[in-house]
């Protein structure tokens, strides 16, 4: 029996699945928005603003879900500040520690971009547009994009940095969650913008197709690295079926097919995006709960 099967479950509650999902989308959406802002054209700005509008609420929801999962939520600040010395609590080798700081930073940059976007849309004073334009905007987009990538991927590394079945038996979870976060972020952007047909929609669809292909490859490699001793008790059951049907078929293969063949007419684009989101959610459900059930 693999050593990971002698351990106890942390019994993180069901909403942690939502945190992993929402955090991935928020991080992915900001990273895409930043790419559009830094390397796109002026006509792409509405789509990048949509990315900021997704990212900041996503970071707030993420924080709330994480705090709600603590057994002593009133002590959430112990993640960042040592309660006895009030010095910063930071361990670079502990993903849960570095992740707390990462989420804080992402929250800060996504908030600044959110304010800048509201300014561009005329809701807030014009001067605040500098938060997403010019030199300052570049800095915020670069740092926010990097922290977005971090937020999307660190959750998988966090799971690997345990001794639990499946999670600790592979080092590919971080990459899988990162790629999935990027694809679900792109999918939500497509789903919320396809009616207006933004100029970058074709780019976004093409990007999502590539990313889904990458996700498929990473998932296969991850499963191959687990070995039969882990796969048999963890995924040779209903969880495995859910992974095959819900993630591989519904969340990856069908959306890729729809990207190439518009089988559903006008609804092809939003349908493919919706399926990617469903697949991304099921991926996290399976990866978290199949280990818990082992």
């Amino acid at each position: 029996m693999p050593d990971s099967f002698f351990t106890a479950s942390p019994e993180w509650r069901w909403w942690i699945v939502f945190y992993f999902f929402v955090g991935g989308i928020a991080g992915g959406a900001f990273a895409i928005a930043a790419l559009l802002r830094l390397f796109g054209r002026e006509v792409d700005r509405p789509l990048s603003r949509l990315g900021y509008y997704i990212a900041f609420p996503g970071s707030i929801i993420s924080g709330i879900l994480l705090i709600a999962d603590l057994k002593r939520p009133e002590r959430f600040w112990h993640m960042l500040i040592q309660s006895e010395t009030l010095a910063p609590a930071f361990k670079w080798w502990s993903p849960i520690s570095i992740g707390s700081w990462g989420l804080l930073l992402f929250g800060l940059f996504s908030f600044l971009a959110f304010v800048g976007a509201l300014s561009e849309d005329g809701v807030l004073p014009q001067g605040l547009q500098a938060l997403v334009q010019g030199g300052l905007g570049t800095i915020i987009n670069v740092l926010g994009g990097l922290s977005g990538f971090f937020l999307a991927g660190y959750t998988g590394v966090l799971l690997s940095t345990t001794n639990r079945p499946l999670w600790s038996d592979t080092v590919w979870l971080g990459l899988l969650f990162l790629v999935s976060g990027f694809s679900t972020g792109a999918a939500l952007l497509i789903l919320l913008s396809w009616r207006r047909e933004p100029p970058a929609l074709a780019w976004l669809k093409e990007l999502d197709t590539w990313v889904l292909g990458l996700e498929f490859i990473v998932l296969i490699v991850l499963l191959a690295t687990l070995g039969m001793a882990v796969l048999r008790p963890v995924l040779f059951n209903a969880w495995g079926v859910l992974l095959l049907v819900g993630v591989v078929l519904v969340g990856i293969l069908v959306p890729v097919l729809l990207h190439f063949r518009p089988l559903l007419g006008r609804l092809t684009v939003p349908s493919a995006a919706l399926l990617v989101l469903i697949g991304g959610f099921i991926l996290r459900v399976v990866m978290l709960l199949s280990s818990e059930a082992a």
Binding site: F6, T7, P10, F39, R41, K71, S83, W93, S94, V157
Partner: protein, 277 residues
């Protein structure tokens, strides 16, 4: 600085009396399971089942019987936190709640812990759980309070067969080696020490003499630190982030090139039209 202290548990003389469990509960004022309701587990004669946030010592009953139960034996083992020299729980704890004491033992400070449960998933032995009364992670402290007062931990004090021995690690290792040689001389070739040297997590300050494979006792054969996966996992993710970024930039660049080419084509066609006109 006091020398490292710990437990040597000789499972060959454990009689499964569970005095250690009772002493631990009594000294540490831990509540009863199921609110004191007596329930039978159906697992041998063991009704306390497992280590938990309110059960810091647990005596395992392992039945090794022939199918007709005419021959066999019970293996008994008083399980507890291993107080690893390289402790996985301490490594991942984000709040600093888990500390290493002057006795080289590992203690969770209940007033600092916020119940994130990272330590539970990290512990390779499944030792730590949440205490439902405090809502913080809890485990054996090796009776840190008693040690500070020069006393023997409650479980070792109560053990009637000296299965649980307490003392300086260097001395315990010598005793364990002598006992192992004694048992092997008696023909118990399966007897072995577990965690007595640095091969397991730098050494376990609560180590064991076992009469069978570690897995038989529910112990991992090669427990490891969770941080072993941080570097490779983070490296792959970083490489993935670079790849995704480049993929996005390449797509935007291609779109720009296509647009410039289309504009150039239009201009050329306009020029040709005007020449023709």
């Amino acid at each position: 600085m006091p020398e490292p202290m710990g437990f040597f548990t000789d499972t060959s003389v454990c009689i499964g009396c569970k005095a250690c469990e009772v002493a631990c509960k009594a000294w540490n004022q831990l509540p009863a399971r199921n609110g004191g309701k007596v329930t039978l587990s159906g697992e041998s004669y063991d009704n306390t089942v497992a280590l938990s946030g309110i059960q810091w010592r647990h005596v395992k009953f392992i039945e090794q019987f022939s199918p007709d139960r005419s021959t066999g034996r019970w293996l008994m083992m008083s399980d507890v936190c291993k107080h690893c020299v390289q402790a996985a729980c301490l490594e991942v704890c984000p709040t600093g709640a888990i500390i290493r004491t002057e006795f080289d033992t590992v203690v969770i400070q209940s007033d600092v812990c916020n119940g994130c449960r990272a330590c539970i998933a990290a512990c390779p032995f499944g030792v730590i759980e949440i205490n439902p009364e405090t809502n913080t992670a809890m485990k054996c402290t090796l009776c840190y309070d008693r040690m500070q007062a020069g006393m023997v931990p409650a479980c070792a004090q109560a053990c009637p067969t000296q299965s649980i021995q307490f003392g300086p690690i260097s001395e315990l290792r010598q005793r364990a080696q002598a006992r192992l040689e004694q048992l092997q001389a008696q023909g118990m070739t399966q007897a072995r020490l577990y965690g007595h040297d640095e091969s397991i997590l730098g050494g376990l300050n609560s180590f064991y003499l076992l009469l069978d494979e570690p897995e038989v006792y529910g112990l991992p054969s090669n427990p490891q630190l969770p941080s072993r996966n941080v570097g490779p996992g983070a490296g792959l993710s970083a490489a993935g982030a670079v790849a995704l970024g480049l993929l996005g930039i390449a797509g935007l660049r291609k779109r720009r090139m296509d647009q410039l080419a289309a504009e150039a084509r239009e201009q050329r066609e306009d020029r040709e039209d005007s020449h023709a006109g």
